[in-house]
């Protein structure tokens, strides 16, 4: 039966297509056929899919088509001055001062003046500006870009590939162990509402080990629309820690996609910490490509006012003997809404899979809401899989216990909230970073920290 295909597009859907048409010639790598083919294919995929809406299961709680009314023009790199004071303001002083190899992307542009490319090179990491690399992609990038756990069905990712203007590409050499984290700092710009599309690519060669921190902060641009994607391919016996800290401006739209692929006997420990943006969508696609690997993806989100934070995880066990853990905690105040959708798929033959996920939220107000949708799709018979979800208010009995010991109510509440979030934060192994997150949570709660 042939039904006429309805080719209706919303204003924003059309504006995104127009954005591509008008920017196409000026996008990095426009003269490189491999790159322009990649972009063309991606924009076509987006054209077919349109913006995701609530009737698409994975976007049930975040109707992007309804929420996105206008598409802002692409942010232009003006080379604005950024120093330590700006970094501190945008990220919080604890995060800004983390000892790390810094790579700073401002207005979508990797800023050599703020980045430690030389230090990374010395340590055995090839680090390049994605924009530069797209002009003449090195062969290692060509085997990774848009090819790490690729998704054909994700319009947000397709838009990222079509419009990516900057970011970093890293190749961590075989058996290289980095002593310091690589801190990729992604800031907006200043002035008028704009959109920015960034892409990071990380290739961790076999046996390498490193920690990556991606920090998203704001220099004060209003109405930022960000589409960020990161691809991480971990070679056999590689071990990558990957952290995302999101504190974009409070009117920002933050769309983030992680694509992760693990080789054999590899390890991936990820953590996402979200306190910013008006609407945040965190997508994480991870898959096991080699046996005997382990991943742990955890996170915490603290939202208030009318903030909306949607975390969508898809973990695919395609091979036997792999372990996955997901653990998320959220604190929701005001009319904020938190969403956790976690799906574990165990392919036929992926025996001895061990997959568990847990999500919980603490609701600080009547109007706050938490939606949790854990899913398991299991096609193998010798597996251990489980999931759990909780949602509740502060326990009044615990509160009374603390108050009866002289701790004033506000402080007692803060202590209980911190304890709740702490269960997620304690999964961050790096002490300096964990401490920074504890302090960021305390600051969010308005608690003085001694």
């Amino acid at each position: 039966m042939d039904l006429p295909v309805q080719q209706f597009r919303t204003k924003a859907e059309q504006e995104l297509l127009d954005l591509f048409t008008s920017a196409e010639k000026a996008l990095p790598g426009a003269r490189n056929k491999w790159v322009s083919d990649l972009r063309t294919k991606a924009i076509e995929a987006y054209g077919r899919l349109g913006l995701p809406h609530r009737r698409i299961e994975a976007w049930k709680y975040t109707d992007l088509r309804a929420r996105l009314a206008d598409v802002n023009p692409l942010l232009k790199a003006e080379g604005i001055a950024v120093g330590e004071a700006e970094l501190k303001h945008a990220l919080g002083s604890e995060v800004a001062k983390l000892p790390a190899y810094r790579l700073v992307v401002v207005e979508g542009d990797l800023r050599a003046d703020l980045s430690d490319m030389a230090g990374l090179k010395e340590a055995g990491v090839e680090a390049v500006s994605l924009a530069h690399a797209l002009e003449k992609p090195p062969s290692w990038l060509k085997t990774a870009l848009a090819q790490v756990n690729p998704r054909e069905d994700d319009p947000v990712l397709a838009l990222n590939t079509a419009l990516m203007t900057g970011g970093v590409a890293l190749r961590i050499g075989a058996s290289v162990t980095l002593k310091k984290p690589v801190h990729i700092i992604l800031l907006d710009g200043r002035g008028e509402p704009a959109s920015t599309v960034t892409r990071n690519v990380v290739v961790a060669e076999p046996g390498s080990s490193a920690m990556l921190v991606e920090s998203f902060g704001s220099l004060g641009l209003r109405g930022l629309q960000r589409n960020a994607a990161t691809e991480v391919r971990i070679g056999d016996k590689g071990a990558i820690k990957h952290v995302k800290l999101q504190r974009e401006g409070e009117d920002a739209l933050h769309l983030s996609t992680w694509l992760v692929e693990l080789g054999a006997d590899a390890r991936y420990d990820a953590f996402q910490f979200s306190i910013g943006a008006s609407v945040a969508r965190n997508q994480i696609y991870a898959r096991f490509a080699g046996e005997g690997s382990v991943l742990d993806i955890s996170g915490a989100f603290l939202m208030r006012g009318r903030q909306h934070c949607d975390t969508m995880l898809l973990v695919e066990h395609r091979v036997p003997r792999c372990t996955s853990r997901e653990f998320f905690k959220g604190v929701l105040d005001g009319e904020a809404r938190g969403i956790f959708q976690g799906k574990i798929i165990v392919s036929p033959g992926a025996q001895k899979t061990d997959g568990k996920q847990m999500a919980g939220a603490l609701l600080l107000s009547e109007a706050a809401e938490f939606d949790s949708k854990p899913e398991l799709e299991i096609f193998a018979d010798d597996v251990i899989c489980g999931h759990g979800s909780t949602s509740g208010q502060i326990d009044e009995d615990l509160l009374f216990y603390l108050e009866s010991r002289g701790i004033p109510e506000a402080e007692a509440r803060a202590l209980l909230i911190q304890a709740f979030v702490g269960e997620a934060l304690e999964r961050v192994e790096d002490e300096a970073l964990r401490d920074a997150l504890v302090r960021a949570s305390a600051a969010w709660l308005g608690v003085e920290f001694d």
Partner: protein
């Protein structure tokens, strides 16, 4: 000095305390006994300021002030301490952090300097030793995985650290074997002082062998039915609570 006059308290719309009078002078230890449902634990919670306990009539004066007008933390700062019958577990809050937060909150409210970390640790070590509490235990989350005895000893440790002027012990002996009762009682006795009043709530006389009270009050149906010297406790040990409505207490429990 604590003065309770004609105290009426409702819990979930039901009257539990029905005109309770009790005076506890500074430096004295009074025991409150009584059958189940007579209102012993309600009295403890009302003194500490638990929210869902509605005072419908009467007054509680503490050091000349209206205790009932104070928030739970204000009561703690003014020297009131309740040792809980069932201490609560708080995963995610290290016992040591909790103790330090409490001690410094109370010191701050009393206009004293907050303790530095080394000073605080010294203080905790000294007090914990008296109660035979392993310092390693205090690094664990508050009361999580603690045995019944450990929880009760932890309550007394908190009491020792907060230096209250009024200690209310709610069935501190319940669920403890005799050795644990002895350790807890020693901890309590070490805190007896002319400047400190204690209200020891217990169903059984056993605890009063170790913590010998100055006065004993027997509660029945929300009032003090009888008061006397320590010998009253022994008498109850012999005769039970029959004359105080133990048989009829089922309905009031």
């Amino acid at each position: 000095m604590l003065e309770i006059k004609n105290l009426h308290v409702n819990v979930d719309g039901r009257e539990i305390l029905k005109g309770l009078d009790l005076t506890l002078p500074q430096g004295e230890v009074h025991a409150v006994m009584g059958p189940n449902g007579s209102g012993k634990s309600t009295l403890a919670y009302v003194l500490a300021g638990k929210e869902d306990y509605e005072v419908t009539a009467g007054s509680v004066t503490w050091k000349g002030e209206d205790l009932l007008a104070m928030s739970p933390s204000e009561r703690a700062a003014s020297g009131v301490f309740l040792a809980f019958q069932y201490p609560l577990e708080i995963p995610g809050v290290a016992t040591m952090t909790f103790l330090r937060t409490a001690v410094n909150a109370v010191r701050k409210a009393r206009g004293e300097e907050e303790l530095s970390t080394p000073d605080f640790l010294r203080l905790v070590r000294a007090k914990a030793k008296l109660l035979k509490i392993d310092i390693e235990m205090l690094k664990r989350p508050l009361n999580v995985g603690f045995s019944g005895g450990e929880k009760k000893r932890n309550e007394i440790l908190q009491m020792a650290l907060l230096e209250p002027a009024l200690c209310v012990l709610d069935e501190t002996d319940s669920g403890l074997d005799i050795d644990a009762v002895r350790i807890v009682a020693e901890g309590v006795n070490a805190l007896r002082s002319p400047k400190r009043a204690m209200l020891v709530i217990t169903h059984y006389q056993r605890l009063l062998n170790y913590i010998v009270p100055d006065r004993v009050h027997v509660l029945s149906d929300g009032r003090v039915a009888r008061s006397g010297g320590p010998e009253l406790a022994l008498e109850l040990e012999e005769s039970g609570y029959a004359e105080f409505g133990e048989a009829a207490s089922g309905a009031a429990a």
